[in-house]
Symmetry: C2
Subunit: 330 residues, 2 copies
DNA sequence: CTGTTAGCGCGTTCAA
DNA sequence: TTGAACGCGCTAACAG
């Protein structure tokens, strides 16, 4: 309720002096400073940040666009974002878009109307579907893929997928199923690329019946598993494009009487917390989720502050984690 | 970049007319309206929301305080919040507090400095530790417990725990272990109360060795399981105070060679997505997570708008879901 | 129906 | 070192 004006009145100084006492105390005499501080304490003054930000033409907030906040990988990335933002004095606005471009637009609108300074996109860019980057809107993708048409931070999805496949192939598998995300999802595309490259390098013929498309949810993993269970010529291993689907698949396989890893090996992607505690513990690719978020925030901050972005595409290292869903051979 | 003034200049009207054309078009003549719309389109004018909000002394944003965004129950509650907020024209600021009261204060500070209009607290209130409610700050707890000293939305935790226990006791169990949260956590306290009431009602003596305190994480469930596994006189059933710990416990038990549910029954709490896909599928208490969030937002909005809050404590129904981690007896 | 004007709270000139 | 005055973009009160 109390404004800078009231503080000035009580302290017996001008509002400019109060303002200076707050932002540049060294430019104020000791006597004045003390009077101001006393007055501030007396009326319990809190500066009105809305006024300050309005004046500064900065909202000191960013919005993060996430397809589903109740997804463990995404929420971990957001933890990293929140942590970095908080330290930089930025608030983070949550935009749970549920894969709706309309909702994305509504949220991007926040920066167009100056309620927010920039956007961190967690959904990979789908050409022709996703919002195109706007030069007036600072934007960074925190879970990018190859060919993102704006700044991004990511891992080498294709390379990681290929590494997983090489491991599986090294264990003697030649019929390897894939549980993919939606066909047009760039994560699907990049990881699929790694799958194909590994097959080709090993001289294993491609069989399209071994590819099942899900949507990164537990349920779709179960569905995919039942597909594989019904096949005449089953794969001996499955490469799932995320952990949720892998965990769902293990359940689905078990229901069908197929044991993991004895009858079938299975690998995941992301290394969410549950991967370690599934039964069997999941062999997977660990993404540096929090790091992805922190790094993306730094890039966005650079853009917001109008500084030059050195690296418009940052590729962070991943780690391949072998656990129990692939047998301990060799 | 373009302001209302420029639009007025181009349209050849006053800024007041532009303002009215935007907020109350009926109070503007057709001719003027068209001129304004043409000018708006021409310069691609977007109203500056920061200025508008500043003028309205409303930020149209709320902050949600959550101990850990990467917790499936919390993130689902947040989905509900976000959905309701978006519809009401409010933005939601994310405050991942990591159980730190200092961070909570930093975020509450946002409403004291008018960057936010109110707070939705997801962490239950711990007397003497949590922030005390401040009459100047609209605040609602979205995952409340009994005796929350400010507005809250919750389920009957004690009743739900008691219902679980009665089910277990009805199946013939007399030695029932508990995996609790931290001892001072109100969710722990309320659910523990239900545990004790059920024991007492059934005339089963209390054994403190059967109570293990965790922290609602998967890992702590594993640790608790190993405790039970090492006991001379093991319980025949375990009541876990959330699903994560139950799932961790199942893993820990399996490692120790104890089968669920053949050797030991186990129940969870929350009904997160994974509960259905764990092995065995978890018998648990389904909380209406999204509903909790939506309802809490409505209460908060009432407070923010200065209207009378009819129900300062709303208790939503829960559902007891029997799956496979308790055998299908009787 | 329309235009002029004041003022929201703050930071920042510019003089003194 | 200090204070008076201006203006950020907008809405509301008032006068026409």
């Amino acid at each position: 309720m109390s404004s800078i004006r009231e503080v000035a009145r009580i302290a017996g100084v001008s509002i400019a002096t109060v303002s200076r006492a707050l932002s540049t105390p060294d430019k104020v005499s000791k006597a004045a400073l003390e009077k101001v501080q006393a007055a501030i304490a007396k009326v319990n003054y809190r500066p009105n940040m809305m006024a300050r930000n309005f004046r500064a033409v900065r909202s000191y907030s960013i919005v993060v666009l996430v397809p589903n906040i109740a997804n463990l990988f995404f929420s971990t990335v957001i933890r990293g974002i929140e942590d970095a933002a908080q330290q930089a004095g930025y608030a983070v606005l949550l935009g749970d878009t549920r894969d709706s471009v309309k909702r994305e637009k509504d949220y991007v609108n926040l920066v167009e109307t100056r309620q927010s300074d920039g956007v961190l996109q967690l959904r990979p860019h789908i050409p022709g579907v996703s919002l195109e980057p706007n030069p007036h809107i600072p934007m960074v993708n925190a879970c990018g893929c190859e060919n993102t048409p704006y700044a991004s931070v990511r891992i080498d999805n294709a390379g990681a997928a290929q590494a997983v496949m090489e491991y599986l192939i090294g264990q003697g598998h030649t019929r390897i199923g894939v549980i993919a995300g939606k066909a047009d999802n760039p994560h699907t595309i990049d990881r699929y690329k790694g799958y194909m490259q590994a097959l080709e390098a090993a001289g294993i013929p491609f069989d399209k019946n071994l590819v099942v498309y899900g949507d990164f949810t537990l349920r779709s993993g179960v569905v995919a598993a039942s597909h594989f269970a019904r096949m005449k010529e089953r794969p001996s291993a499955i490469f799932s494009m995320n952990d949720e689907m892998a965990i769902g698949a293990i359940q689905g396989l078990r229901t069908a009487g197929i044991r993991v890893p004895e009858d079938m090996s299975i690998t995941g992607f992301d290394d969410i917390e549950f991967a370690r505690y599934s039964d069997p513990a999941l062999t997977t690719v660990a993404q540096p989720a929090e790091e992805l978020g922190k790094t993306a925030f730094q890039s966005l901050l650079t853009l917001i502050e109008g500084r030059e972005l050195q690296n418009s595409e940052i590729v962070l290292p991943y780690e391949f984690v072998v656990r129990k869903s692939t047998p301990n051979r060799r």
